[in-house]
């Protein structure tokens, strides 16, 4: 049933109506209540509205209930979100969030809206990026509501605050800022709020956009905020005193502030017993150092400092390199780039094909290039090992950084051997020293040195000794639990 010009103009204003008319999925339908004979009209966007709620719940009540004026709608509709408004902007916003507008004949410029949003929520799936053998197996999905539900269930206290800011000129993305009041440092919350409010962008597709737009230094390969798909990790971060950002439409939460060492700590470390976890953490740090430095060291030593290698070992190295026509650096670049190609191809292809590519590429290309005399098998071992080592990073983003970091080191190693590696190391260290995350030093607890945080950075001490929250977060409650109470409970025969 089409309406006359005048009716629509009263409710929504000229421009909005004209624009809406152009869309096929905009609907305006008029009805009459059977009891009171009140005439009313519903406006909605069909693609956003759940027809079931509209036709099975709302409409029967409106048609058969005691409905005389607009105010009655609040009483008779059995829906949670029913409101009355005169604000044009609010009306427009609600309409595009899946609300149905309701106007009654005779009441001008006012309308009631009720939410009948159609929610297409993906099922909660297993963690794929941050998989862990132990621990919870749920991950975030694309719906903000669902994600908040996952976090609220883990921290069911009133102190957990969820603030919402809408950003993006066209996407109107809802960004939620989560923190625990009375625990999280307000300065951090304010910084995040200010930066999110300051975002000026047309479309925010994912939390990664927000992350990139509010990072302290955008010209750095190092991620300055941690993103995770695991609600348990987010809950842990919140109780540590960090600020969490959730973005509607993104299955990743962003945690800030953070430090470099946190990127090398897997959440699973906290699920294993502390001795094992510390051992694994140690292996991981070794792996990362190996991954960055092994190939450059090979190039440096074979190009310049072969005297460093004891004679027996040198024999092996020389034997493997005897037939190779290239200098070590070309050889290294060739293999490193091959590995990067494999990795990139594997990441872009569907899982099953990707696996095949990995095997075919890894084995066939590797063996063939050694047999063809293009690369030495020692270097092949080193490159393969360092690629493997770079996969031990528990956070995807930092893994990419490690991948990239190897190349400047290679170039410097070719330039000045070991000296070049040290110079490059100095550049990287300086860069890290200059970085901050929400204004907090990124290299903490190494610099500024904080013994308490250092303890947790490289080993994973027993939970009972982790009494204090990280110092760099400057939380309002530094202690996680009362030592006295813990002691009393542990007494003999208690």
């Amino acid at each position: 049933m089409k309406l006359g010009w005048k009716r629509k103009k009263q409710i929504m204003g000229e421009d909005l109506k004209e624009i809406l008319e152009k869309s096929e999925d905009f609907q305006a339908v008029s009805y009459q209540n059977k009891k009171t004979k009140t005439r009313f009209t519903l406006f909605y966007i069909t693609s956003l509205v759940d027809e079931r709620i509209l036709h099975e719940i709302a409409l029967p009540k409106l048609l058969n209930g005691d409905f005389k004026k607009l105010g009655d709608a609040k009483k008779i509709l059995p829906l949670a979100e029913v409101d009355i408004s005169r604000n044009k902007n609010e009306i427009e916003q609600k309409l595009f969030n899946g609300a149905v507008l309701l106007t009654v004949e005779g009441e001008k410029g006012v309308c009631c809206f009720f939410s009948a949003q159609k929610e297409n929520v993906r099922n909660i799936s297993l963690p794929e990026i941050e998989f862990s053998v132990l621990g919870p197996k749920e991950t975030f999905v694309e719906s903000l509501k669902q994600n908040l539900n996952l976090i609220r269930k883990r921290i069911p206290v009133k102190e957990l605050i969820v603030e919402e800011i809408i950003v993006g000129r066209y996407s109107k993305t809802r960004v939620a800022i989560l923190y625990i009041e009375g625990l999280t440092n307000e300065e951090n919350v304010n910084t995040v709020r200010q930066r999110v409010e300051g975002i000026e962008y047309d479309e925010i597709t994912d939390s990664s956009y927000v992350m990139q737009l509010i990072s302290d230094n955008t010209n750095s390969p190092f991620p300055q905020m941690l993103d995770t798909e695991r609600p348990d990790r987010v809950a842990a971060a919140l109780t540590e005193g960090k600020v969490v950002l959730l973005v509607d439409g993104s299955p990743h939460a962003v945690i800030a502030p953070t430090t470099l060492v946190e990127f090398f700590n897997s959440y699973e470390d906290y699920l294993l017993d502390w001795i094992l976890a510390s051992f694994i953490r140690f292996i991981r740090f070794f792996a990362i150092a190996f991954s960055v430095l092994a190939t450059p060291a090979y190039v440096a030593i074979l190009s310049y400092h072969y005297q460093l290698i004891p004679v027996d070992l040198l024999n092996t190295l020389v034997a493997s390199r005897r037939m190779i026509p290239f200098p070590p650096v070309l050889e290294a670049f060739f293999l490193e780039i091959t590995i990067e190609l494999l990795r990139e191809a594997g990441a872009r292809l569907p899982t099953k094909v990707g696996q095949t590519i990995g095997i075919v590429g890894g084995i066939v290309i590797g063996t063939a290039s050694v047999e063809a005399g293009l690369t030495s098998n020692v270097l092949l071992i080193i490159v393969a090992l360092s690629a493997l080592a770079s996969f031990t990073t528990p956070v995807y983003r930092i893994g990419n950084t490690i991948r990239l970091l190897r190349f400047p080191f290679l170039i410097f190693a070719e330039l000045w051997g070991l000296l070049g590696i040290v110079v490059c190391l100095c550049f990287v260290t300086t860069h890290l020293l200059r970085l901050t995350s929400l204004g907090r030093p990124y290299l903490e607890p190494i610099y500024p040195p904080r013994l308490h945080d250092l303890k947790e950075a490289f080993v994973r001490p027993p939970l009972s000794t982790l009494r204090e929250r990280p110092q760099y977060l400057r939380t309002k409650k530094p202690a996680r639990f009362s030592r006295k109470a813990a002691k009393e409970k542990k007494d003999i025969d208690e």
């Binding site: 400092h305 005297q307 290698i309 000045w416 070991l418 100095c426």
Partner: protein
């Protein structure tokens, strides 16, 4: 002079330790053994101790003096002599710091050229290295301190490497003790003082330290640690080399590294020389920072302008010096200047400060 440093730029007094330590340990530690044994023979370890004790006193004076005027060296001069003298003294210090930077960088490049890459071009390495220095210094004082801290921590292992020389050491070399005259020992400690300069940079960064009352403790500790380190190296070197042989080694520490053997590694000096790049980085960064800060107050220019200008001047100077003789000459000028500033001038100005304080105190009442 107004010396208000924003609280978030300040660092904890512990870093007085790191900064002094990082500045004391530098090029000198690779070469000082020969120089001191030239003067005092194998009794020179006593000279090391004597210099160390002297340094303790002087650091005590410096911190006391800075505490009195609550500022840096410029404030001291202004307090004692007035504004113009402070500016002139500032220029002298800028020259001294600049010479120090150039000496350190050029001596290091010389070591690299002798021990690692004979064909390393001074200009290109200096260029890249000074870019690195610029990157550190423009990050501000906190980044600078961080670099000093990390370089100190990462290079500590080198001192344990010297223990590999123990199986070849003959401590009887040191006997008989005290077969040199006291004058020789004094000469030796004067030479030692050349290597021991560097602590005077606290004159410039003192206002950046929080809790000034705790600075004294950390500064003294740094001097103590450095004295012990120098003593340790002296004793090991003297035990390793016969007295006649050490005179033929310009860099005795590097020669010791040569004998180190591990199952996967020989010829440690390559790694050692490369590591020393990390060690001398603060030795160039801190003076550059200090000089640019002085320039800011003396010439009223922005520190951001002064830093690249000084770095450029340093680059030009470093690439112009080419022979061993020139490097030696430069090192001896810098050493002498450092010696007179640290061990002669600073005690005098300390006394002057005390005097000025007394006069100013009694001034209004009389």
């Amino acid at each position: 002079m107004n010396m208000q440093i924003p609280e978030n730029r300040k660092i904890s007094p512990f870093f007085a330790f790191i900064l002094i330590y990082a500045n004391q340990i530098g090029i000198g530690i690779l070469t000082f053994q020969r120089l001191i044994s030239k003067e005092a023979g194998y009794d020179a370890w006593i000279s090391v101790l004597m210099t160390g004790v002297c340094a303790h006193f002087i650091v005590w004076m410096i911190v006391k003096m800075l505490g009195t005027v609550e500022g840096d060296i410029l404030s001291v001069h202004e307090f004692v002599f007035g504004k113009w003298a402070a500016k002139i003294a500032g220029i002298v210090f800028i020259i001294y710091l600049g010479l120090g930077m150039i000496t350190v960088l050029r001596s290091y490049i010389e070591i690299v050229q002798v021990w690692m890459f004979p064909r390393l071009q001074t200009f290109w390495f200096a260029l890249v290295f000074l870019f690195l220095v610029l990157y550190v210094v423009t990050g501000g004082f906190r980044v600078l301190t961080g670099m000093a801290f990390i370089s100190s921590v990462l290079s500590v292992y080198v001192f344990f490497i010297f223990l590999f020389a123990l199986p070849y050491a003959n401590f009887a070399n040191l006997l008989p003790i005290l077969d040199h005259s006291f004058t020789d020992l004094l000469k030796g400690s004067r030479t030692m003082a050349f290597s021991f300069t560097g602590f005077e940079l606290i004159l410039f960064y003192y206002p950046f330290l929080k809790k000034p009352e705790k600075v004294q403790k950390w500064a003294q500790l740094a001097i103590a640690v450095c004295t012990v380190l120098y003593l340790y190296l002296t004793v090991i070197t003297f035990a390793y080399f016969p007295e006649a042989q050490i005179q033929k080694n310009i860099w005795p520490s590097l020669t010791i590294w040569k004998i180190i053997e591990m199952p996967f590694l020989e010829r440690f000096e390559y790694i050692g020389v490369a590591t020393w790049c990390l060690v001398i980085l603060p030795n160039v960064c801190i003076p550059l920072w200090a000089a640019s800060r002085l320039a800011k107050h003396v010439f009223s220019i922005r520190q951001r302008t002064a830093v690249p200008v000084f770095a450029l001047l340093c680059l030009i100077a470093v690439s112009m010096i080419s022979t061993r003789k020139q490097i030696n000459f430069l090192a001896s000028i810098t050493g002498t200047m450092g010696f007179y500033i640290d061990f002669v001038y600073l005690p005098l100005i300390f006394l002057a400060t005390l005097l000025a304080k007394k006069v100013k105190k009694s001034g209004p009442s009389s």
